[in-house]
Assembly symmetry: C2
Homo-oligomer: 412 residues x 2
């Protein structure tokens, strides 16, 4: 990485030096589009349509029900889980693919609360994804505990011996603030609490080391930086040391030790497969595996370096090109504290996102006034940073000008 | 339908008269195969691969995250649910597609138990699908109730005022025994209990009238007679009269009244959408919709008539061709009491199923000694009944002869 000023020329030079540049051609992206929303839905790997078509036309069509064994459909949750384990810095057998992030969170939270019988609290923070907080509300209710939500900066300070599990998102879905995992785990373990983190916005975009960092439990989704397709099944992680004791509160036939023995009584599988419940959606699982396989070809350290460079350059350009008129930047300015996104605040955010889209830049509006730009280093290039920041500046000025001309219709 | 003897000639004549015959060509089946396992995994509709490919290459690839609104991905669970409602004899808004059968069962059972606070029992019977019983064990545990399992014939007799919910499968997955819904609902309601049934083996293969029959809650899977593809998402039904009161015990962002408002507190949707939890697997949902759309073209009364004729003819042939040597038939002999399958018992069942497969007939082995033949009237024809019964007779005699010749290796 060079420290030269962020001119388009210099950014193009960075693209020529980029060891990840070739990955861009492994994705099929729409023409004339700069896609800065891969943290909502990852782009389509070029190989995915043919892979799905094969599974549909060959496996399902030809081998029908026998495919569960012949083509190892039954094994997909574990097989893909083991691949994701490599992305998370986890061991084989510690990760499985199953259901949705929310459902996995419910299973793990209730399982954790059952383990920690004497403790009354799930601790989380207000920057956590609201969906995760809803799940936690229901898990707390189911187990007759309470959910305590504190300010993000206070999360570690609020740990005490009543906390059964502390739960947070590694990357704040709004601001992109990145939480360092190991200190949280150390503090939590010091008071005897378990640590559960949601990796939805970090998995696939930075090297992770869940084992080394002492994380107990984790969940994450497959459709963002894992490029698994819309609504791709989610993953869950359970540290080996907990696998002998934590239970899945929802007992399903796929989590049974002998699914096809059809025993009368539930008997949980001894592995993480006990967290499976019902039949998994094979077509969506196959698409997920294709995204994972592609990602496993990339060096995640290089991915992280490029991610930090992209977001840093983008922030530089917002400040350099706009001067004091620039938008308020919500994301941490220190790259080490930032996930692969930049969030800005603007009162006309919704309208600006629409205008960006009309000009070929896809970003995301988050109510009430946030614009979120996600940078997937496998298919976003440095020149995109220049182009998107220029377009952002132009459409923002236009939207501002429109508001001044026609205030009555300027309401978002 | 004719009452003539089941010769191949007469069966071919029935095929020529069959108003459903053309549906066979709407499915893409492997050559030289008689597929009698559509009650495990339905066959592939010819239109499905192109539909999935379109969603992948056009919607995901081109419109990316905007597809959630532009292509109504967000609406799929309700849209497909409303289509399934027509198959179930339910009203619009009473059915939604979500997760797996097991997870939907968990949500509904816990929801039902919460509604019925003063009652201590989930009542079910020993013929119910083991996976459903496992779910019920965990729901009972979660709500501090008990699961009482009785003999199938005793289900209605064992109803009392401690029963919160009576839960059963409409069609026994082993024997094919079909339960008449209305009498169970009437008896259950007489003691104030709720009725929950699993329609996995009945939906799509007979007309249903959940509303008329007074069923309160139901679940079912998408990958059998709905032909939704491997592991297709499942459906759930909640009678309108319960929708204002029953809660989903797992609070997820997709079940929130305003998913994208990202409110701090969970606030359930007022519709059945409150039973959604996390992000649905779009590719698998699309395949399901394709199967449902095809099924909606068929007259379910005609489907049921053909289903009864196919299973009756198959039983006739087993008795007519084998005489007293015939296998034990586990399925009810009265067609009105039978789902769309015939089950037989044989000590070498596993080996016979393998030999059938080698001879182009796909049936299913269910441990320890059951062979299950499923008849999907949209793609199984009358001539298949003749051919498969002849092959069954031949391979059974061969397997029996092998056992007599080499008893030491004949162990299953």
């Amino acid at each position: 990485m060079t420290d030269k000023a962020s001119t388009r020329e210099n950014l193009e030079a960075l693209d020529r030096e980029d060891c990840l540049a070739a990955f861009r051609y492994r994705f099929d992206l729409p023409n004339d589009t700069i896609y800065l929303d891969g943290n909502s839905l990852g782009a389509m790997p070029r190989s995915t349509p043919a892979r799905i078509d094969w599974v549909v036309r060959q496996e399902w069509r030809n081998d029908l029900n026998a495919s569960w064994w012949k083509h190892n459909w039954l094994d997909l949750p574990r097989r893909i889980g083991d691949k994701i384990a490599r992305i998370l810095g986890a061991d084989e057998g510690e990760v499985i693919v199953s259901d949705s992030t929310s459902l996995n969170l419910f299973k793990l939270l209730v399982g954790a609360l059952q383990l920690m019988a004497g403790r009354g609290t799930i601790l989380s923070d207000s920057s956590n994804f609201p969906g995760d907080l809803y799940v936690a509300q229901s898990a707390a209710r189911a187990q007759n505990r309470k959910l305590r939500i504190v300010a993000p900066a206070r999360l570690v300070d609020e740990l005490d011996e009543d906390v059964a599990v502390v739960m947070f998102s590694q990357v704040d879905f709004r601001t992109g603030r990145l939480v360092e995992l190991r200190p949280v785990a150390e503090q939590a373990h010091a008071v005897g609490a378990l640590v559960l983190c949601d990796l939805s916005h970090s998995a696939g975009v930075m090297p992770l080391a869940l084992g080394h960092d002492g994380i107990d439990l984790a969940v994450g989704c497959g459709y963002k930086f894992l490029n698994g397709g819309p609504g791709a099944p989610a993953f869950m992680y359970v540290a080996n040391r907990l696998l002998h004791s934590i239970e899945n509160p929802i007992w399903g036939w796929l989590g049974h030790a002998e699914t096809f023995a059809f025993e009368a009584e539930y008997r949980p599988d001894s592995s993480i497969a006990r967290f499976l419940v019902g039949c998994p959606p094979i077509l969506s699982l196959i698409a997920l595996e294709e995204g994972i396989d592609l990602l496993l070809e990339a060096d995640l350290h290089a991915v992280r370096r490029k991610s930090v460079a992209l977001t840093s350059r983008f922030i530089d350009l917002l400040r350099q090109e706009w001067g004091d008129d620039g938008p308020e930047i919500l994301s941490p300015l220190d790259g080490r504290r930032r996930g692969s996104q930049v969030a800005i605040r603007h009162p006309l955010a919704s309208r600006i996102v629409r205008a960006l889209s009309e000009n070929g830049v896809i970003a995301e509006f988050r109510a009430p006034d946030i614009i979120r730009f996600g940078f997937a280093p496998l298919y976003v290039c440095y020149a995109d940073i220049w182009d998107s920041s220029q377009i952002l500046k132009r459409v923002t000025h236009q939207v501002d000008a429109d508001r001044r001309v026609a205030p009555a219709t300027a309401k978002v």
